[in-house]
Symmetry: C2
Subunit: 516 residues, 2 copies
């Protein structure tokens, strides 16, 4: 077996079979193996930022490691911004990155780069394979490392002579170690705090925002009246009718402080105490009030869903009917007239199919989306976890690959969308069931708002030129069609609703440009 085959067969043996790829010369032996091994699915993207974002979306929904195949230092570097987001999402991902032949690196040819240096900031596990004989073993370790709670990025650098040399063997994947559950005393102590009658918030992270973890969190809330919160950077939140009510912490510092000021204690589950995104002159970044005590049920890396289930056991049940989960779908009425962000949110609430995966990078245009869809049919909500813009379309792509039977609704700001616009092409190529809505306000709205916070007076024309992305206006219909995605532009809420109905019915990719 050549090294390349040992690598890919070991990945497949570990259940890692979906490869988001943009290969180059140093990966050509891996490509030749992928050409033959039909157990794998390879999805090409025209830019690596699409690949890493798609891998993130795949891992969030498939709940198993995503796999990328990237070309040397620069190809890998192109994927870094969405790796930043993925590292904050704490999902399992394995990057296989080509490298020059071991003996060629010292020749310092044009594509030579410090790949390990580039990979270190976002790789929890990092290794350059030394020989074909070790390749399978290294892949097995990478798989284990990626799956260690809460989910990690593992980067495996593969010199081309490792790929093409004989002597490889498929390695067996060691059983993954279970994440530790908090000690009984910790659970008892938190249960005691919840019974104290003090106004309490539980800030949910990791796998307590969907599935069994969320179900347990809902039981705790029902039994104790504690408020369930999610951090602003949202990996995956299951919501809609029949799910416990979880409120997201606001992005804006003042709004978040207002939202959190009533709580006297906060229980952290797989997350950290909420802090403002950015620092501002003479403002405190801590979002909880000074009288709010912070306690931890489970830290990052512990079995959070398990911890919530333990907490349920430790609390008096049955539920307090006052805190019962609302189980009936309540869509917003169909809106009409001039486009408003509230109207758009209502149309989405009115029309989104059961089980939709909503990917949200709507930025300043999306304020009303979560309130409007609170009691829509059950759905998952994926957000931007690391603040690196350009995640929405790649994330949607990966989620759609992981869940082909579900509708994906990708909500993107126009400024963010341009970062990884190449994702549209892969959506078309793979005929993915993704409706992309572009909120075309033609401005970096966050920056305009931040400038106004400075208190230095109105925005001058030179700063405005760094915020406004009109001049020329982007034509998203042409951009989408240029990459093979059917598209339309809407200028009223009726048009938006009709476009949304048609898009959902099409069963394939489409794009709607909303002029705000």
């Amino acid at each position: 077996l050549i090294g390349a085959e040992a690598i890919i067969r070991t990945l497949v043996a570990g259940g890692v079979d979906t490869c988001f790829v943009n290969p180059g010369t140093t990966e050509i032996h891996l490509v030749a193996v992928l050409d033959r091994l039909t157990e794998t699915r390879c999805i090409l993207a025209l830019f690596e930022g699409v690949i890493t974002g798609a891998a993130d979306g795949y891992a969030r929904m498939a709940e198993k490691p995503a796999w990328t195949l990237l070309h040397l230092g620069p190809g890998f570097a192109n994927g870094l911004a969405n790796l930043h987001n993925a590292s904050r999402a704490q999902i399992p991902m394995i990057n296989v990155v080509g490298q020059h032949a071991t003996y060629h690196i010292r020749r310092d040819t044009p594509l030579t780069a410090d790949i390990e240096g580039l990979a270190r900031p976002y790789s929890k596990w990092l290794r350059t394979i030394c020989s074909a004989a070790e390749a399978g073993f290294d892949v097995a370790e990478a798989i284990c490392a990626s799956q260690r709670m809460p989910g990690n990025i593992a980067t495996l650098i593969v010199p081309s002579d490792v790929s093409w040399s004989e002597g490889g063997a498929v390695a067996t994947i060691p059983a993954s170690t279970k994440a530790p559950r908090p000690a009984t005393e910790t659970v008892e102590r938190i249960a005691g705090l919840l019974r104290s009658g003090v106004k309490t918030a539980i800030l949910l992270g990791g796998n307590t925002l969907y599935g069994k973890g969320l179900q347990a969190a809902g039981q705790v809330a029902q039994a104790t009246g504690a408020k369930l919160l999610a951090p602003y950077p949202l990996t995956r939140l299951e919501r809609g009718a029949g799910t416990p009510d979880v409120e997201r912490v606001h992005y804006i510092l003042e709004a978040a402080k207002e939202q959190l000021k009533e709580f006297r204690q906060m229980i952290l589950v797989g997350t950290v105490a909420p802090v403002a995104y950015f620092a501002y002159p003479n403002k405190d970044s801590t979002l909880t009030g000074p009288e709010c005590a912070i306690h931890t049920l489970a830290g990052v890396g512990e079995d959070c869903a398990g911890a919530m289930q333990d907490l349920v056991e430790a609390l008096p049940m049955p539920v307090n009917p006052q805190h019962a989960v609302a189980n009936i779908v309540q869509r917003r009425p169909m809106p009409s007239g001039k486009i408003t962000t509230a109207g758009l949110a209502d149309a989405i609430s009115a029309l989104m199919p059961e089980n939709t995966i909503v990917v949200d990078e709507s930025m300043t245009s999306g304020r009303e989306l979560m309130p409007s869809t609170k009691l829509a049919p059950r759905h998952d909500w994926l957000g931007n976890t690391g603040g690196a813009i350009g995640i929405a379309m790649p994330l949607a792509l990966g989620a759609a690959v992981a869940c082909p039977e579900r509708q994906v609704l990708c909500l993107s700001a126009d400024g963010s969308g341009m970062y990884t616009v190449q994702a549209l092409w892969t959506m078309a190529r793979e005929s993915l069931r993704i409706v992309t809505v572009i909120f075309a306000n033609r401005v970096y709205g966050v920056l305009k708002r931040e400038f106004s916070f400075l208190g230095t007076g109105p925005i001058g024309p030179r700063a405005a030129d760094m915020f406004d992305i009109c001049r020329p206006d982007l034509d998203w219909v042409m951009l989408a069609r240029g990459m093979g995605v059917p598209a339309s532009r809407v200028t009223s809420l009726e048009e938006f609703s009709n476009a949304l109905i048609n898009a959902f019915q099409s069963g394939g990719p489409s794009l709607i440009e909303v002029l705000l």
Copy 2:
């Protein structure tokens, strides 16, 4: 003075006045200063890979430091692939990268990243500013570092509290140290080698490929009959009628070996001995023959143009008329009929205006371009120096900003073009005189060729799916128009020539999609 103002005023004092920018919240105080300081020109791009590539193009043509302003770790990371190319181009560049407030970093909020770690692989000089008081001084040092021969990337990380705090001062820029010239004995020794009558090549790097350096190189060649060569990765080559004949080393290993086999000695000037891009099983990567002795006139970081001038002094002049420079423009005749890569090259030779800046990332479609334009009117040729694809349109953008009076001709493969397609928008916004030609062969041609080298038989459908970028076809006319750039598609050489004539006459940006 707040730190932000000290930073920008010191940059301006150092002659660094053109800022390629995509700012974020942590850079908002810098933006507020740029809003007021009209000595600066700010050019917005919708993706940072465009920014770093444009800065590279600007520095190559303006021969002074380029300046970028980027948002935190992920914004900077998006620019890394073209920084890889810029680091290989050895041009002066200053990256100003925002950072959280010093006291906010430890809060580890979503956008927190190891910016120094991300910057280290491609920054020859790297510093995080500690206080407003030191900001001006640090900028002055960055300017000096960037200009140290042969030109370096300097990265300056600016915490937001450094930007907003009072106590800054504009620093004076120290006189830059001149690069050392080789010792007299070295020049004499090389002159002796050149007089020996042995078949000799001079491999030119750095600033010996244009201007005074090239002129001196031409004199040496005329006096000695030595062959002038340029490395395949080309920062900037002045060529066309009236310039010395410089041959580029071939990309393909076998072709390069054939090209270089006749030489018995090679003189290096600011470059290293030529090596194949990639290693291949059982093939030697060294491109010169085993009997070719390698000598160095000037190393990277020495004054190469000065060294060439010293060499001219040390050699017997006047020129040997046999080696005189061809001074008469010889355009190729206008081609017609079906599109061929040779025909396209001839049309470009027939039509390119005097003083054009040609940016070449035509990849496998561009083989005939350099031979066809050898005696075209004088022009500069900028290439991909580091092999990270997606450089052409950004590079063209930066070159056009540096030289608004000159025509820029951007020759891009379709696969490469998609990497930084957002550059088109900035071309339109700034009304730049750039004609972009897309060679739409709808395939990653290099990879197809590399696969065939494997000798493992024909390309299967699964590998073909990783090479072919049809399905769906990209529509470059729509993509360009979607970003405000007039565009047309051509399917014959007559159509191409007409489109080229119109595009050159327009004086603004345009795109021609050539279906191959």
